[in-house]
């Protein structure tokens, strides 16, 4: 498998970014859910630190992903898709990118408005991008929650579509985002 995307499949860089962001988003959802339910404690604070740090990591990775995508032509969708599916897929992917950007950005705004100091992975101080304000904090938390709800729905659709392509339509849409374990690269 080459590093770059080809007309047949996604390259190693794209696959690596895709699957690491996917895993990190799942971790963020799990930690985010858990930390909200916990009573105030040191463990809760530690979970918030992990959630915020991983969120900033995802922000960096998705920016790299967008840069890489701009310099690579994605493999085209199968030609035999019904007419409405290709535009829908394109729209869904644009919305996914926007929401994956909006999640860490609204989190960053939320953290700024809360006035709680934070260092990414206990090292890099995160500068505030909004004034400290309880009112703004409330608005940003609603924004964070709303983008989460939209992202969760889109992710379910994204996963369902990938499985449908693989198991019902029998095309390579899912496989071309997977490394070919046990196969020798034919590139």
């Amino acid at each position: 498998m080459g590093l770059r995307d080809t007309p047949r499949r996604w390259g190693a860089v794209t696959q690596w970014l895709h699957w690491s962001v996917a895993a990190l988003i799942l971790a963020l959802i799990a930690i985010g859910w858990w930390m909200r339910l916990m009573p105030l404690s040191l463990d809760k604070i530690t979970l918030y630190y992990w959630h915020k740090s991983i969120g900033m990591l995802v922000l960096a990775l998705v920016l790299i992903r967008l840069g890489w995508r701009a310099g690579n032509r994605p493999p085209p969708l199968p030609r035999d898709l019904p007419r409405w599916e290709a535009p829908l897929a394109k729209l869904t992917h644009i919305a996914l990118y926007l929401l994956i950007l909006l999640m860490p950005l609204s989190g960053w705004l939320l953290n700024s408005a809360s006035g709680i100091p934070f260092r990414i992975f206990w090292t890099i101080p995160l500068p505030p991008i909004a004034p400290v304000s309880a009112g703004l904090e409330h608005i940003f938390s609603l924004l964070h929650l709303a983008s989460f709800s939209a992202l969760a729905l889109l992710l379910l659709g994204h996963m369902a579509a990938a499985l449908r392509h693989h198991f019902l339509l029998h095309n390579d849409v899912l496989l071309r985002m997977l490394p070919r374990f046990g196969h020798r690269s034919r590139s």
């Binding site: 809360s114 006035g115 100091p117 260092r119 400290v132």
Partner: protein, 184 residues
């Protein structure tokens, strides 16, 4: 000449020689603190306090300074942190809405500096603290400034699971400034 000096001293006595009564309310100063959260400073202040003093800066030996602080009004840079530290494990403001400082001795050092010693009472815990105090006389007022570092565990501020110093440091830096006006 001797008489002149004596007269001058006599006339200036009412202003400075005897300990005078002074006071400073919340509009005439501030008490700020910096705590450390994962190594990052978190600042806050006590917006409500009342200071009373009986003090002659030239002869501080018989003087006294008393400060009452409404810990129930404690504020930090973050509303979330403020809400948390008013809780039971921290300042427990429901049971202990006030902290106080009562001086035991004021010793003059050089250049407007004094050594202040007294009992600090927070959350029902008392501790003797000694720290440098600067007194500046200006236009009928006294300005008191200084800073000191406290260990929050001496006062059970952050008890139970919070008593470790890894995430939230034990050391808390305090700084204050009061402008005292003559009182009664």
């Amino acid at each position: 000449m001797k008489i002149f000096v004596a007269l001058l001293l006599a006339f200036s006595l009412p202003a400075w020689a005897a300990p005078s009564n002074w006071a400073a309310g919340p509009d005439a100063g501030n008490i700020t603190f910096t705590a450390y959260w994962n190594g990052t400073p978190v600042t806050g202040h006590f917006p409500k306090f009342q200071l009373t003093a009986r003090l002659d800066p030239a002869h501080p030996a018989g003087g006294s300074i008393t400060l009452d602080i409404a810990t129930s009004e404690i504020k930090t840079q973050s509303a979330d942190i403020t809400a948390a530290i008013r809780g039971d494990a921290w300042f427990d403001v429901k049971s202990y809405p006030k902290a106080s400082f009562v001086s035991e001795s004021i010793v003059k050092e050089t250049g407007g500096l004094y050594q202040l010693r007294g009992e600090l009472r927070i959350k029902g815990h008392e501790k003797t603290v000694v720290f440098p105090l600067r007194i500046t006389c200006d236009d009928g007022t006294l300005e008191l400034t200084g800073k000191l570092t406290l260990d929050r565990t001496d006062f059970a501020i952050g008890s139970g699971q919070w008593s470790g110093g890894d995430v939230i440091a034990h050391k808390v830096n305090l700084a204050f400034r009061f402008v005292l006006a003559p009182a009664g």
